[in-house]
Symmetry: C5
Subunit: 364 residues, 5 copies
């Protein structure tokens, strides 16, 4: 199985999968890179807010009925029991829980009777290139549950806005919170795209200055990352599109304009990545013409040298022949007073003529 | 963040974006290139018209209820307070205002209860290549509000037509004014396309005469501009298509045929740009075959020279050997009376034969 | 502005356009190539028919109410007043009239209350390559008005059929007349396609015999014409498709099967042009492989010559060395009785071996 | 006009066409290759069957009302009167009859009030490559009329099944007979595809062994045939798809599952041909890399020879110089006892070193 | 006819087919590779389960009415009578039975009155590359019948889950069993894709290290396998999509979420295979640039050698000339005291200069 976020070739394209024939809904912990679960509960109403870390999952049991909005954020998926417990406490569908634990999923949205479930991929451009982190989100009447397999808390900015009491976010309920989280994920694609664009620009500069095989390998790396991007951004766009048209009772009517904005951003990210793909193949074209140019240049040098020196060497060879000068017609030039100077005269005139010809042909 | 209208590679493809996690509807001034706001108010009825510059935004407050059509055109987005004030005075949606201030947006149309909002991109081909200017437009019952981030007033021609009292424009209300503005923007693509086409033709001429690496870089530049064009023209076509089918109460039925005309123009601009893309890749093909031809030519020169002089040099070498002529069988040619002349005869005959052969093969 | 039918690169792709900001419905005469108007009126019923040239447009005023079918064909668009007069007399929409006068339009169909308006492009393959002529057609209850910017009357065959009294055409009313005209235009694409196909075949033959740069320029020319073709044929297909589904009262039910036939022809023309596009890129492939082959051939000649003569020249050089033969070990071969003959023996054996090797490698 | 089934380039892509302006429904005999009409009438009920050749078309007049199923198969379209007579006797639409006589049509299905008309193309792979034969079929309440322009009777297998009294075919009426005929035509694509696939495999083998220009011409031929195939198979798929959804009263409900099966086969044939197209462009890639490899090999030979012999020739040249050995510093090597042997020692060591270097570089 | 699972070129793309004209529903045994039938009956209720091999097909006759779920799995299709018998006993449509026996079918789903029939392809990556095995499945009220042409039992894992009494599978009826079987087949694509991906990575490594013709043949092989994959995975996705929307009474409502999960997996497998296709053409690009690089390198060596030694050989040739030194102006250098040393000085300086120039040009 290929690990989420790893940089080996082909990685990021294939999702994790269970052995064919495994019963559906079987929960097995996500791959080893995933750390132990850290559970952060944020409960709020317009009036007050409480943030605390939960160590014992059973503390979450009574939350469902209360009048406040509860946001449970789970970081680390190594511990299946936390996921199972949440599944029971909030009545989540086992297939959805299986998806939470299987990394590398295609972004999607799934409606159940009283929850909306969606999977998206958070993109970032780190030291090892493009990294995607699978985020799963359950939206219920007064709760949002999010899962992130590892790393630092992605949603700290949202929690800060909640704590700072910015009115809209605290008053608008669980649906708006889900929007705020998904909006953050969609917008995270832009800095990643910008980094990729810078990378492309650097490769272009390298190719124009001096194309070497390394450039082409870097370019191939970028193209692979763009494939991963597309694999994420196409369905992410669909997810946002569907949420913006969603008629589920959990989605208040006035939320739609927000999700439509989110959808517009997702479309734009996708378009940029598609254009990067075109630019990448344009770079390959430049690279190939550049190689062709260099070959032409090399061949011109060779041809100029050969064209100048082959006839001259022939001439020198002629006057190195040993025809018997006793015969008057044999090589009389060798006995001329200015023979040698004449030879050099012809030689230099020949070189000058050749160079003039080559210059006229534009080869110099 | 990449600046609108800048010419660095990759620019124009990525929109401005706020840091992920920024609350929606947060208004921050557009990038620094955007000048301070200049507000031009044009109020008219069929009978009379008044044009004046507004310094104090509060002068705009009472306009909404009156019986005339008001067109407020804002040039320069550096001053957020003007946008905020207009937002409050005309009850504009905060997400739309955020879009107004974020440059590089994808053209789109958004319906609200009592306004229609659309973003389009005005294209021009200036000294630094293709330039796009984002124009945002709000259409309300008796008002149109337009925003342009900087530069000279794009809509002077429309205002002139209003002032000159051309009947239809003055009588038909705010919807028709919006049409006139959008029509101008859609049609602005044609001179830009014409300039791009001229550029392509110039590159083609250069390639056919003498292909060099600079041509390929120019071509790559054009292809990038065509990517930007497509990114603008595709959604612009959608915007016009949707407006021509729009059933919003603000859109009078007889406006639709005008927007349909606008849509036809948008389609045509898009088609031309797509065809330019094909022509650009055709030029790359010409370029590559042209390089291949030159290589062939260079190699032919080399081969001709080598084929002529290598055997001759060998021959001269032979008669430069020092075999002991005391042995009668050793190099008797050297003692012949016409040996040297014979050598030249063979040499010239060889050259003539070679040239005849090459001519027959079509290499000369 | 680019002229209709001109053959400069890029022409035919961009339509004429008015300066952005020009009020819609402004009538300005089509470009200078367009001649003065010649107006031919054909009035008929099943019983009789009358064909005459109209000099004074006012003669057309009373026609609208009468019980016969009137076909007004205008050749030459330099005279705006004729178009304006017709517009008033038959109540034609100003936007449609503007389209009539703007050449290079995309084929389209537009329904108005009591007229159907369509623009199509007549294709022909003349001395200067593909030529397109914009034809505009208005269909009303008992009239058809057609415009053609210049040239000889395209619709003479239809008029002849009318005059010869072929029953169906005279009895079926204005809709069937419009069909007959459009059918002629759609079918005109086939001889043009056939000429283009012949052109492609000629280029292919040239490339297979002896590829030179001219072929590639011809090929590029054909590809550009195919782009123009596609730009015309795609929307032409849509026009016919829409007319075959049209529910306008002007379209009798039994006309639909005729327009469907027309649509089938339009589809077929489009498919042929798309296949020609594929064939054209196939030719480019052949061309490139052909160049590659020639390079290989040239290099083989060079390599054979070098491989044969370089070692031999070395050998001749060796026996041209001046080692002091007083030393017994220095170059004893030079004193051998058969030294020189042996040298030639080695030389000829070497040449024979090389040629045998090259033949075995398949290089000869 | 291009003939059906001919093998000239471009043929098969363009349909026959009548001169533009010819009145619709004009019947003119199909091209000269089409033989005189042979008419075979097969009349059957579940109980009995009669097959006979009809010489006088008038014998067909009374058939329409009788209670049996009549299948009239016309081979040869040179004789327009037969087609005209059938048209009158069975009330067939004139546009459909015109299509029957125009070869090279796009497969299509057309519904009339009491008949369903369809055109399909029978594919076969003969000595001259892919051959298509246009088959037209009219289905009426109790009759099926089929036309085939020339050749041996394509539908002999169906007639045999009828005669052998296979129950279903005899009992199920005219619709099932039409299905049996169309099924035969759709399935005929598979042997043709198999032959094309074998052809592709043979080309691939040739390219891998020794690529020459002929392979590329063969490949181009196959690509052209694949274009023809696609032009036939795409609309054929549509025809079958539409028949399988057809709600015409002539189509019994239980026929649909049979036409759906037919549709599945048509889809599969299309997919195979699309994959062959991809394989054909894959072969072009192999071909180009193969040429590139050969060029590399040729250049390596040249470079090895030059690198070995150029320095050695220089050395031989040095010792062939005539510096005045009276001066003690001039060329003392020439007088050494082992000078000549030393020269050969250096020469052989040089050759050995070079070969070792080239082997290490992998050039040998 | 091409055999299922064989590895000859073109295989796997074309399905088996019967001779055109064969009556529909004719059952002929699948190709010879298919072994004799082995029939495994698994009958279960929530309470108990029974697994046994059936030798005499008549033992299956009474099963249909009983209250338990029956799963009949047939391995080996050489024996038509078993299929025929099952067809009669369970009232299966003859066209479906024909499809069961024709290997290489396109995945599809077909609804009949009281059964749902589907064909899918099980993918595995064995020693001989990609292998596909056609699986046919009939779902009835209380039975599932599956066919597999040969090999070991694919569905052993499902049967084990049944035997181990895992609650859901035993309680949910025939529809859920069908889901479990199809889920296994869809998921089997992932290990096959992983193997293909590893293969691609290995080729990439080979190309980057040292591109040779074998790599390109391997790559071509992978591209062909990807074509086969796509031909299977596209319709497989459609099959799952349709089952997840299926409203057939056999499909309980709560099954749909399971089939939707299955559909998601099918989409993901398809996307991965499409991305592999892009990666494969990326490899071709790397390969071509790599060859170009090598050619450049080879030519540089040749040019360096020639540029260094051609002028030097010329110089040696000059001093090997035999001008008559009796004339004072002829070749005085030959008599200089340091002439020979000077020659070597010039030679070495020339070599040094050249090498310095080449290093500056970056050729070394």
């Amino acid at each position: 199985m290929i690990e989420d976020g790893a940089s080996a070739p082909g990685s990021g394209l294939l999702k994790d999968y269970q052995d064919p024939g495994t019963p559906p809904g079987t929960l097995s912990s996500a791959d080893g890179e995933s750390g132990p679960a850290r559970v952060v509960l944020t409960s709020y109403s317009a009036a007050d807010i409480e943030v605390r870390e939960i160590d014992d999952p059973e503390a979450l049991d009574g939350l469902r009925g209360s009048g406040r909005v509860h946001w449970i954020h789970v970081i680390g998926l190594a511990d299946v029991s936390v996921v199972e417990h949440l599944g029971k406490a909030f009545d989540l569908h086992p297939l959805a829980l299986e998806d939470v634990l299987t990394l590398g999923q295609r972004p999607k949205v799934e409606e159940f009777d009283d929850t909306v479930f969606c999977i998206v991929q958070h993109l970032a451009y780190g030291r090892e290139g493009l990294e995607k982190t699978q985020v799963s989100l359950f939206l219920g009447t007064n709760f949002v549950i999010t899962f992130q397999p590892r790393g630092t808390d992605l949603f700290e900015p949202v929690r800060e806005r909640l704590v700072k009491g910015r009115a809209k976010l605290r008053q608008k309920g669980a649906g708006y919170l889900a929007y705020a989280i998904l909006d953050l994920i969609v917008d995270a694609a832009f800095p990643a795209l910008e980094a990729l664009g810078d990378h492309l620009d650097a490769i272009e500069e390298g190719i124009l200055e001096k194309p070497d095989q390394e450039d082409i390998e870097n370019l191939q790396g970028v193209r692979r990352e763009l494939l991963v991007l597309r694999q994420v951004l196409w369905p992410q766009r669909e997810v946002m599109g569907r949420l913006s048209r969603e008629e589920h009772e959990l989605m208040a009517d006035d939320l739609r304009v927000y999700f439509r904005d989110c959808y517009d951003h997702a479309v734009q990210a996708l378009e940029v990545s598609e254009n990067f793909r075109e630019m990448a193949s344009g770079l390959l074209d430049i690279y190939l013409t550049s190689l062709s140019h260099r070959l032409n240049d090399v061949m011109k040098v060779l041809t100029i040298i050969s064209t100048v020196f082959m006839p001259l060497s022939f001439l020198a060879g002629v006057y190195g022949m040993n025809f018997d000068r006793a015969q008057p017609l044999n090589m009389p030039e060798l006995g001329w007073r200015y023979g040698y100077l004449g030879f050099w005269g012809v030689t230099l005139a020949g070189i000058a003529t050749m160079l003039w010809l080559f210059r006229r042909k534009g080869w110099l």
